[in-house]
Symmetry: C2
Subunit: 196 residues, 2 copies
């Protein structure tokens, strides 16, 4: 698999903004069952193996889990404050849960669990999201096992087909549109330099 042409500017942005922890936070838009959009911050967890798919994690008890099962299309919006540039990546999401999957994806899910901090793992043992707030003790009732994720821990992959890169520095601004061509096996992309 060759790197998509947007990988190089994205790597550069990640590198130049590396002093900001939150430069790895981005906003993931999905669509609710009733057709209204949803939008929340998620943490970028790197690329899956040698693919162009971005890794995130999620909890099967969250609203987005159900949304993604109904409508796998998503757009992430990723703003880098230091270099003043934005990447929008439109693509399909793939949920990797505890259920049967190709072994390499199950392995990736396990690895993502093991890569988490203790604090992040612990959050998956918290009581159900959006229910009336439980007593403080409930949140520390048991310890997460680094060797075994709970069933509701999911790896989430985004497979982009369009990328819109806007650089706000400069007047006029620079904008590049990347589109995956019709034959996804080829992993070919078009690139256009366009008006911002």
């Amino acid at each position: 698999m060759t790197l998509a042409p947007w990988r190089s500017p994205l790597s550069r942005a990640l590198h130049r903004n590396r002093s900001l922890t939150y430069a790895r936070y981005l906003q993931l838009a999905t669509v609710r069952a009733d057709g209204r959009p949803a939008n929340r911050t998620v943490v970028f967890r790197g690329f899956w193996a040698d693919s162009n798919q971005l890794k995130f994690i999620t909890d099967a008890r969250s609203d987005k889990f159900d949304q993604i099962q109904q409508q796998p299309w998503a757009e992430i919006c990723w703003y880098f404050p230091k270099t003043r540039e934005q990447f929008r990546l439109l693509g399909r999401l793939i949920l990797i849960s505890a259920a049967q999957q190709p072994p390499e994806l199950l392995q990736a899910r396990m690895q993502s669990w093991q890569d988490l901090s203790d604090t992040a793992r612990q959050q998956f043992l918290w009581p159900d999201p959006k229910q009336p707030k439980a007593e403080a003790e409930v949140f520390s009732a048991s310890n997460a096992d680094p060797a075994q994720p709970p069933d509701h821990f999911c790896l989430l992959l985004l497979n982009p087909v369009e990328v819109d890169h806007l650089e706000l520095r400069g007047n006029p601004q620079d904008r590049h549109l990347y589109k995956q061509l019709d034959h996804p096996d080829d992993q070919q992309w078009s690139v256009q330099f366009v008006n911002p």
Copy 2:
């Protein structure tokens, strides 16, 4: 009109993050005509008059203009880096274009145009977005008139009906859900303290 109960924590977040220019940037998710989501960064321009409606601006030549006309529901996701908190606001968008509107909205549109910097106004005279990049001279061919916005300059109002406020500081984190009750004339809201 009384202030909605989420206005106070949002004001506090804006104040505590005021040293970061980009704390006024947030991500706006809408839905495309084909049902796939779209997501981009926009700049918060304050509240409209004494309402609970957030102001943004947009260009009628942008994709979101068409999206909003077909599906006015949107969710903004607003992450405040310094205080590590997120606001998600779900609501309907209202486009205020040059076409006939109640005079107070046309006046608000004019005021938003006048409040812009020269640089920001100039961008509305740039050639059509997403077309092949024009020569540099085209971007500075004429000067924007501070007294008269071009027809494609739009004010955009978001009227939230649900607000999800997550504070990442603290373990466990604090999360409050605000929902507008069924009688919008009353402007009554429910507030729930829930599991993160």
